[in-house]
Amino acid sequence: MRIATAHFGEVEIDDNKVLFFENGLPGLEDNKRFALLSNEESRPINWFQSLDHWEIALPVIDPFLVCPDYAFDIPQADVDALEIKQVEDVYVLNVLVIPRNGGITINLAAPIVINVKNNRGKQIILDDKKYSVRMPISELLPNAAEGG
């Protein structure tokens, strides 16, 4: 299908690349279908583009790039809801906020979890004080450099 996007103009999306979020995302509940978009310039940031409202797109990143020791348990209810059979099928992305002025932050408290076998996903909420909703990327990346 051909879709309008927030940052990449008109884009052709394969039907098998459409990601389904039954409950939308917290705060953006009326967006249920998404696609991941990126290009050479944007990477490692991907844009989580709503297919229901073209102007809605959230920057997301592989959290392990910026926080190599990031770890959490997926609640059993979510494992069941997404029909996750094995951990290898799980793809994790975390939402960034890129303000016009000021540093980029990452939401480590609410990872987006996608089952790549059926393209179903959910943003899960970790009630773990270790992980902030608004962690500055600049505080994480020096550690990432040390770790790798």
């Binding site: 917290p26 310039e41 944007s42 059993q76 209810a77 906020v97 909420i125 990327i137």
Partner: protein, 72 residues
Amino acid sequence: MLVLTRKSNECILVGDNIKVTVIGIEGDRVKLGIEAPQNIRVIREELLMEIENENRMAARSEYRPLPRGEER
């Protein structure tokens, strides 16, 4: 909305398998113990509100690559 009064160490039961115990009261703080099955999500409301707010802010993000300074 059901409104109940409970004292310290008293409980309320929600459905067949959720139990909320008032563990202690100190000034304006109430400490609760919540026993619920694993498939019931229990979170503080303000955490959900923060995440809703953060997602809406993310959707207003500026399109720009990671600045070099932050890509060290």
